[in-house]
Symmetry: C2
Subunit: 507 residues, 2 copies
């Protein structure tokens, strides 16, 4: 039997190997960030190759059989350590990721990586020109590759389960289907009752708002919410995102439309929510696979909590609206807080997911989730996807895209990743955000009043203590249970929606 | 005997391995660029670790014994290929670098890398506070490590030879000493004759020049000189540098002083000269160790050629000065071309190398070169370095630093690299630039007139054809011989200096 003295150097070795892999991944992330922000156009070809190389080197280091042996050798130590300890968590989570990673052949990874780049390029051309025919062969190959990827996990209940599992560990189609059906049933009556009514006036958001001033206001808001600019920065990109290279270098990006005030503002708060999560991870986890958000759904819950539950609340604007008016006196000087609050919460039948209000947003997600499953199951051919898409928009949202640019071509996910596991996280995030916020208010009821006073430290610290600091130590399910005392449920979200929209609309 | 059919797959394998290493090095370069440009301060600790990891991974891949076997197996093929072919050059140059790299133990590399980071941090604190005592222990360790590095190459004529060889392959102390002595003897009388005279008026450069307009003018000049902004960009950093991540992504940085017009302008043209070299490398060499400038000296010759021989020439400003006056009418509207031309070529006894005119610049370099050698030879202790530095400034330049910030602490080189091999490239570059430019004028005499007309294509193309395109295929010595028909000589530089400064000053 091995003694602890013999095993501990192996733990050091594990950490050393993992930090090396972490550093290679961080370098790949920086290559990606640079590509989206400052890279001159000529750099694209070499950049694609460099990204593939870094992924290949880090994947091959992680899936090295020596890593498997190391994890095996560490099992005795793991059993002697508390489940919640950093060390046991490191071994446990690494093993879980290792077991998945080794099932996927390196040759397949390289093939998938090359195809993703080609497919993305085709989509980038097809989308502005409304040309689904151009991406169709790429998407067909993506579907083949997605099915092949799923086939490396042959004992799954549903073909999509292993793909969902990459992003949202532990989630399964069977659970998500019933969760989403339930949610749809409860949401539809509210949505229908609202869209019957005459829509609130939101033209105040569509005036001319100069870019620099928008960015200045956004930075001011983020600073006050607690985003640390000593350990982060904001740049402009075509699509906003959050990315990090360590827990002390967490960057976000935004995009500004000078005729849409809400775009930069809420996308910045959204990405900042992701950023606060990464900035709040315990520094002791830095450089390990635990130093990241634990699942896509949990990550999205943090961005949506700040963007919607906080950022689109009346209390938040009670504090910030007078300041916004000072930034834009000509545009908003004569617009009341109520008019502004209604404008940023306007519910409508719309075509674009990322522009959707928080009520209909989930309907957009469920359409994509269902279509993903049908394609993976072989029940929907890629050639029939645009029609199926449009038909679902008609039945679920009562509105039909006039072209594929505002339809099936709008989201990048299927065109640069895979089909399957791409969209559930958004609705999971919405549901989780409400459940977390309810727990926060229950423990610290003063948070509501503090928000009206521009005071966010209590909420920020509660999130840090409850969620952020743990990084990837606990699964999403464990975190929900530990923090809210319950499994994921739709009720908190429905309660939140009722409370907010009954006040906003006559229901 | 192996046939070509058997060997060629090994050439493919060599290229694949080298491209992977190249990509890891490119990623490290991007980490460095980001650190100097946009990284938030909090990112520093992890960034140091990530840089070390990438260097370790790429070094260990390059020095893998499999690489040695591959190079050995390729020897028969190499002998059948023309010396000048890309393939033979790739094998030859890789072998040369491999043979050096394997002599240095990985353990030493890691030790050196860690020390460099610590030493740099100490210097960054010591320099502004004029505190040589703070860096002294680090510099002493650097000297030890530099001697240890040299000891891995025991059969050198001089302890500094292998260190010089890293930057300027083939150069030796014996040759450089006699070259530099000869140069000093020829330069000193001119310098002395000039500094006797009353200095030209250069207050026109020291007015208020707003940063944005300086940058705009600089970009305009670089575009016209031929720098491709589709494959490059310019950002601001504390110290200007050129860096590249592929031949299609070659970036430069600059720094702007609003009370010094010449700083941003000439440092931008200088770095652009490095950049033109990298942008002009044959795309077929991309991703291999041949896709880079062949030596520090040759690289410096390209930056100095554009900065000084072209950028500080009267013909250049005959064309650009009216445009510069349009950019800054209040500052330069009443300043004549001749006054401006004299101001940007003012020769003076000065303390700071990077601010020195092109005549005294070499004296600054030779002081450092000699002190490096004395330290390595054990004839000068680090504790005596500041005194030795000041004494040499008194004897060579007739001026003494009043503190170490403007003395021995001014250059970063010894504090973040090693002692030995750090400074010879600057004077080599000056000499080479004159020899290359003389060859260019001999072949294409129209270049002089074209410069006066703002037409730089002939010169740029000549440099591309003669030097840039070859990347690292030829050694500096081969390149000098191929392009100028002669070994490196000081006469072209002396002729250039005489011609220019006899016109500027009464000699």
């Amino acid at each position: 039997m091995q003694t602890t003295e013999k095993i501990e150097p192996k733990l050091v070795k594990l950490k050393t190997c993992l930090t090396q892999i972490n550093d290679l991944e961080a370098a790949a992330s920086l290559l990606y960030w640079d590509q989206a922000t400052y890279m001159p156009p000529g750099g694209a070809t070499a950049r694609g190759r460099q990204l593939a190389t870094l992924q290949e080197v880090s994947h091959s280091k992680f899936t090295d059989p020596a890593m498997g042996r190391l994890l095996e050798d560490l099992t005795p130590l793991e059993t002697t350590l508390p489940y919640k300890s950093d060390e046991a968590s490191l071994i446990r989570v690494t093993r879980r990721k290792y077991d998945k990673a080794v099932r996927v052949p390196a040759e397949f990874m390289a093939r998938l990586s090359r195809h993703r780049t080609e497919s993305y390029e085709a989509w980038a051309k097809a989308r502005p020109t409304n040309n689904f025919a151009l991406v169709r062969p790429y998407l067909e190959k993506t579907l083949d590759l997605s099915q092949e990827l799923a086939s490396f996990f042959p004992n799954s209940d549903h073909i999509a389960d292993p793909l969902i599992d990459f992003a949202d560990y532990g989630m399964k189609v069977s659970f998500l289907r019933s969760l989403f059906d339930n949610l749809r049933q409860q949401l539809m009556p509210i949505v229908e009752a609202i869209v019957e009514q005459s829509p609130p006036e939101d033209s105040c958001l569509r005036q001319y708002y100069p870019e620099t001033k928008q960015l200045d206001f956004t930075l001011k808001v983020m600073r006050q919410l607690g985003y640390d600019f000593q350990r982060g920065r904001q740049d402009k990109t075509h699509h906003p995102f959050m990315i990090n290279f360590s827990t002390d270098d967490v960057r976000i990006t935004t995009r500004v439309y000078e005729n849409r005030l809400d775009q930069a503002l809420f996308s910045s708060i959204h990405e900042m929510g992701h950023g606060l999560y990464e900035q709040g991870i315990n520094p002791k986890l830095e450089g390990t696979p635990l130093a990241c958000g634990t699942s896509s759904g949990i990550h999205e819950s943090q961005s949506r909590l700040w963007e919607n539950i906080v950022g689109r609340s009346r209390g938040f604007w009670k504090y910030f609206y007078p300041q916004l008016q000072t930034f834009f006196p000509n545009q908003l000087g004569n617009v009341s807080l109520d008019t502004f609050y209604q404008a940023i919460n306007k519910v409508e039948r719309s075509l674009i997911r990322t522009d959707a209000d928080e009520l209909t947003y989930n309907l957009h997600v469920m359409i994509r989730f269902d279509l993903e499953l049908q394609m993976l199951e072989g029940k929907l051919a890629v050639r029939d996807l645009p029609d199926a898409w449009n038909e679902r928009y008609r039945s679920d949202l009562g509105i039909v895209p006039t072209n594929d640019t505002e339809g099936v071509l709008q989201d990048v996910h299927w065109y640069t990743n895979q089909i399957g596991g791409m969209f559930q996280c958004y609705t999971l995030g919405n549901l989780m955000s409400a459940q977390f916020f309810e727990a926060a208010l229950w423990e610290r009821p003063e948070i509501s009043t503090q928000i009206e006073q521009g005071e966010f430290t209590t909420l920020h610290n509660w999130l840090k203590d409850s969620i952020y600091q743990h990084g990837g130590k606990y699964t999403a399910a464990e975190l929900m249970k530990n923090v809210t005392g319950s499994v994921l449920r739709i009720e908190p979200f429905i309660r939140y929606i009722h409370r907010k929209y009954e006040q906003l609309y006559s229901l």
